[in-house]
């Protein structure tokens, strides 16, 4: 699924560890002499930029929710929109659907992801490396493609699974699965979202002190009992926070609710707001009001998350050199669990991808059969590659992506520097604002942009690439922040001080020491944000105009028209592009690894 959250939030609260007014003890920020005026100037400048990019659009949208006329028109203040929501059974149902969908998908993703994480980190299951790589696979596939793959698999009329079942299984004469249902949506979303819980829980498992479990085993408990009674409860804070993150990610999702939910008449927040804003007759004020409700739900979830992580610190068992968690020997159950893991990966990752590949080679979609093989060709690819509209969409996508990523990473690295490396006043506020977009689902961010720039027509960026670039920057700053934080925290203060003590000026220290050491990390962040901007649909679907057509929107248009082969051909090409980008990032990351000390006496 579009990775709207990934691991951003995980380090958001690491900023709380910054030292107070500075007694030196161990790892502490040193006072850097600065003229007061320059300090304040920088902080104010950054605050102004962040506020304009992130807070002002949201403010405009909230304002719009209390008005009764579309953005840019003369209107009056009113509470009518909120009253309408409270009186509307369908809108209230959408709230309920969102929670059920979000909770269900999160539960599924969490259970499967945790199971796989436990297998790879704490047991001797086979093919561990393969599992690890396979779980990361969804990161290079845009969510819209996976959603349509599940449509092609589970649609009662045309779904592969249903057709094959009806043709080959004698006792089946009707569709077995209906993808157009809440269960179908939960499956499609949850199965595509294994990566996040897997990574988070794997890290948690890795850092747990296995002597806690060993004490349980010695007392006579078996593997299952130990896991149930000891492992999971001790990891409860990690469990809770991971689950909440999965919930936030699911409830912010747009693709699955759009592809499966609309036809199933299961509205959720994201799809309702989109339709309310873009479909005729549009009521952007109502959409804004509903978006505010949406935001409140997400913020509540975030609040629970922050509570859970703070509690988690008390439970933290830190592994020192002597405490490498031991692996449980599954014994006879090894094969069973290996098969189970492979099955999960097949169903969640391989199956939709295979459908993608399969469909991309067909002239028009049909269920697999013997005759189908003769019809396969590269025709769709040729048409997609040769189509001028798609070519220009590709260019636009790259231009927007590169510009937005550059801006997001640059801006966030400066903000992260101020937060981590200085004692400027107001840096905590900066940090908070920079991480705020985590709480903003893409659709809401887009609506907010619409509200701001339609209300202020002098800024004429509506329907230009700039409104998209700004929306991307706002949405992806938290990712840049996270990467910058990580890079800067790795940069020991004393490396800069050694340069100063060697006689170098501030500028030389920056250019010769600091920048070369953090640039590789920032480059990887740049590539990551670029990948996210290629994949994301929720922003372009609201903000793109005829001149700012992008690839993810093109995929949507193919879906809308039912052109599945073309959809998947284009999807495969995007997949290849993302694969290349990821490869580049990995190369740079590995090269950077050589810059840290392999042997440390520290």
């Amino acid at each position: 699924m579009t990775t709207e959250l990934e691991q951003v939030v995980v380090t958001a609260e690491s900023t709380d560890g910054t030292a107070p007014a500075g007694p030196p003890s161990g790892f502490v920020k040193r006072l850097r002499p600065r003229l007061p005026r320059r300090q304040t100037l920088w902080v104010l400048l950054l605050l102004a930029i962040l506020t304009w990019v992130i807070l002002v659009p949201v403010g405009a949208m909230i304002w719009g929710s209390f008005r009764d006329g579309p953005p840019g028109t003369v209107a009056n203040y009113t509470l009518e929109k909120y009253r309408f929501i409270l009186d509307s059974p369908s809108l209230l149902r959408a709230v309920w659907n969102s929670v059920v969908f979000g909770g269900g998908a999160a539960l599924l993703a969490f259970v499967l992801g945790t199971y796989l994480a436990w297998l790879t980190e704490r047991t001797n299951v086979r093919f561990r490396t393969f599992i690890y790589v396979a779980v990361l696979f969804p990161l290079v596939v845009p969510g819209i493609l996976t959603a349509t793959s599940w449509l092609l698999l589970l649609s009662p009329r045309i779904g592969v699974v249903n057709s094959l079942a009806m043709n080959w299984l004698p006792f089946v004469d009707g569709p077995v699965f209906n993808g157009y249902s809440m269960l179908g949506m939960i499956w499609a979303e949850g199965s595509d979202s294994l990566t996040l819980p897997f990574l988070l829980m794997a890290a948690a498992f890795r850092s747990m002190d296995s002597s806690l479990e060993e004490a349980s085993r010695i007392s006579g408990a078996g593997v299952l009992n130990t896991t149930r009674r000891i492992t999971l409860p001790v990891m409860l804070p990690a469990v809770l926070s991971t689950f909440i993150l999965c919930f936030i990610k699911a409830i912010e999702s747009f693709e699955v609710p759009a592809v499966l939910g609309i036809a199933a008449r299961i509205p959720v927040f994201a799809t309702q707001i989109w339709r309310g804003s873009q479909m005729f007759p549009s009521d952007r004020n109502l959409a804004a009001a509903f978006a505010v409700v949406y935001l409140i739900v997400v913020l509540i979830a975030l609040a629970i998350y922050y509570r859970a992580t703070r509690v988690g610190d008390r439970f933290a068992t830190i592994t020192g050199k002597g405490f490498r968690p031991t692996r449980i020997d599954l014994g006879r159950l090894r094969s069973v669990n290996t098969i189970a893991a492979m099955l999960i990966l097949f169903l969640a990752v391989a199956l939709p991808f295979l459908v993608m590949v399969y469909t991309s080679f067909l002239p028009f979609y049909e269920v697999p059969s013997a005759e189908v093989w003769g019809k396969m060709s590269f025709k769709q690819y040729a048409e997609v590659l040769g189509h001028p509209r798609i070519q220009s969409a590709a260019v636009t996508t790259i231009v927007i992506g590169v510009t937005a990523s550059l801006l997001a990473v640059l801006l966030s690295s400066v903000v992260a520097w101020v937060t981590v490396r200085t004692q400027y006043r107001g840096r905590r506020l900066l940090d908070a604002i920079a991480f705020a977009p985590i709480a903003l689902p893409g659709i809401v961010m887009a609506l907010a942009m619409l509200w701001l720039y339609l209300t202020l027509p002098n800024f004429g960026i509506y329907a230009t690439i700039w409104i998209l670039i700004l929306a991307f920057v706002a949405k992806f700053i938290p990712y840049g922040m996270r990467a910058s934080h990580a890079s800067l925290l790795q940069l020991n203060r004393e490396l800069e001080e050694a340069s100063q003590a060697s006689g170098a000026s501030w500028l030389r220290t920056m250019t010769q020491i600091v920048v070369p050491l953090i640039v590789p990390g920032l480059f990887v962040a740049f590539i990551y944000v670029l990948s996210l901007s290629v994949k994301i649909l929720s922003l372009p679907i609201m903000l793109s105009g005829p001149k700012t057509h992008v690839l993810s929107l093109q995929i949507w248009e193919y879906y809308d028209g039912g052109f599945y082969p073309a959809l998947n051909a284009l999807g495969m090409l995007m997949f290849l592009l993302l694969l290349v980008l990821t490869g580049i990032a990995k190369l740079v990351a590995n090269k950077v690894g050589g810059h840290t000390f392999k042997e440390q006496a520290l």
């Binding site: 007014a21 500075g22 030196p24 040193r30 003590a501 060697s502 010769q512 042997e599 006496a601």
Partner: protein
């Protein structure tokens, strides 16, 4: 060559004012190896960093080689990169993205020294630290000990007037630490640079330094040569911080004078020496007598009674290889006695022994250290 006067560093915290460094003053002569020692949090690193210019003091003045680099009264502050110092950090701070050569050459490049000269000086510096031949090694592939030497070479390559070392040996294992101690000291003697060395390890400070300053809670407790610090501590803190010491409560009703005094202790009357006329002892009546464990004589019970001899029994023994440490209880007082391990025959737990505390080694210290923070 270095003059520190009334140097202070205060922090304002939610819990109140923290005086990390509280009004300290000392001097370091040219070419001297000077150590700042103290427990964690005593302010020694902060002091060093203020001398380096990496930390801005709250008050006081710092003079390096007749040049005022900091003065609160004149509002002078010379930044770190203009102080002509060399510094070795606790983490070594060797830049991982550069080779050994580039690391060491950096201060010279900053000074725009000619390339040929740079090469010569870097080679010379690396020879001095024993890393000749490793110029082109990427510094990310160095061991801890090698990183340390690179840091050292970088700190001296530009012939600074002052060398600062911030706990450079803390992260090394015991063997390497002993070796590096000798090497650093040898290096310093060879090139003669004025050096200030910060450590929490008193053995390190004593073995390497010309002069030692003992710090505690931001204040200097005592400054002096290592022998003075060890044999003539002027406060309980100094006496207890450096090596082991026995502290015995003593009481004298009449004023104490320089020379030998008789005090009343839990063991009985004890003759102890006051080494100074210092009035800081005031007119008090309570004192502490300090004596090093290795200076107490121990014999089997029944030996002829001499001055300051007491009977006691052994309550605990520890065999340390080259010596034996035993706990001897004399009345209500427990003493730690250290003696050569050749004396094993008479020493058993429970053995009756005779201990003598020679008056000239029993030093009178104030009962309490002044102004406990």
């Amino acid at each position: 060559m270095i003059t520190i006067e009334n140097l202070s560093k205060h922090f304002r915290t939610p819990e109140g004012d923290l005086h990390a460094v509280d009004d300290i003053s000392f001097e370091v002569a040219r070419g001297q190896f000077f150590s700042l020692v103290g427990p964690s949090g005593c302010g020694k690193s902060t002091t060093l960093r203020m001398i380096a210019g990496l930390e801005r003091p709250t008050r006081g003045s710092i003079e390096i080689s007749d040049r005022v680099v900091y003065s609160s009264s004149d509002r002078t502050f010379v930044p770190a990169n203009k102080r002509s110092i060399g510094m070795v950090f606790q983490s070594y701070a060797v830049w991982p993205h550069m080779t050994v050569f580039s690391n060491v050459a950096y201060p010279l490049k900053v000074q725009r020294v000619a390339k040929a000269t740079i090469r010569k000086k870097v080679h010379a510096a690396l020879e001095l630290v024993g890393l000749a031949g490793l110029e082109d090694r990427p510094s990310s592939r160095l061991s801890g000990g090698q990183q340390q030497r690179v840091a050292l070479a970088r700190a001296i390559v530009h012939e600074p007037q002052l060398l600062l070392l911030d706990e450079p040996l803390s992260n090394l294992d015991a063997q390497l630490r002993k070796q590096m101690r000798a090497e650093i000291k040898g290096l310093q003697e060879r090139i003669g640079v004025t050096t200030i060395f910060v450590t929490h390890d008193q053995e390190e400070a004593l073995s390497m330094s010309d002069e030692v300053a003992i710090l505690d809670a931001g204040k200097i407790r005592q400054v002096g040569r290592p022998e003075e610090i060890y044999h003539a501590p002027t406060t309980q803190f100094t006496a207890a911080f450096v090596g082991n010491i026995n502290l015995v409560d003593g009481r004298k009703d009449s004023p104490v004078t320089a020379g030998v005094n008789e005090l009343m202790t839990p063991m009985g009357p004890l003759k102890a020496t006051l080494a100074t006329d210092d009035d800081s002892f005031g007119n008090g009546q309570q004192f502490t007598v300090g004596i090093r464990p290795e200076l107490i004589e121990i014999r089997a019970s029944g030996a002829p009674s001499t001055e300051n001899t007491f009977d006691g029994s052994v309550t605990r023994l520890m065999f340390l290889g080259d010596s034996i440490e035993c706990h001897v209880t004399v009345g209500a007082q427990e003493l730690l006695v250290k003696t050569s391990s050749a004396a094993t025959e008479m020493l058993r737990v429970g053995a009756e022994v005779s201990v003598t505390l020679p008056a000239r080694y029993a030093r009178i210290l104030p009962a309490e250290d002044p102004a406990e923070a």
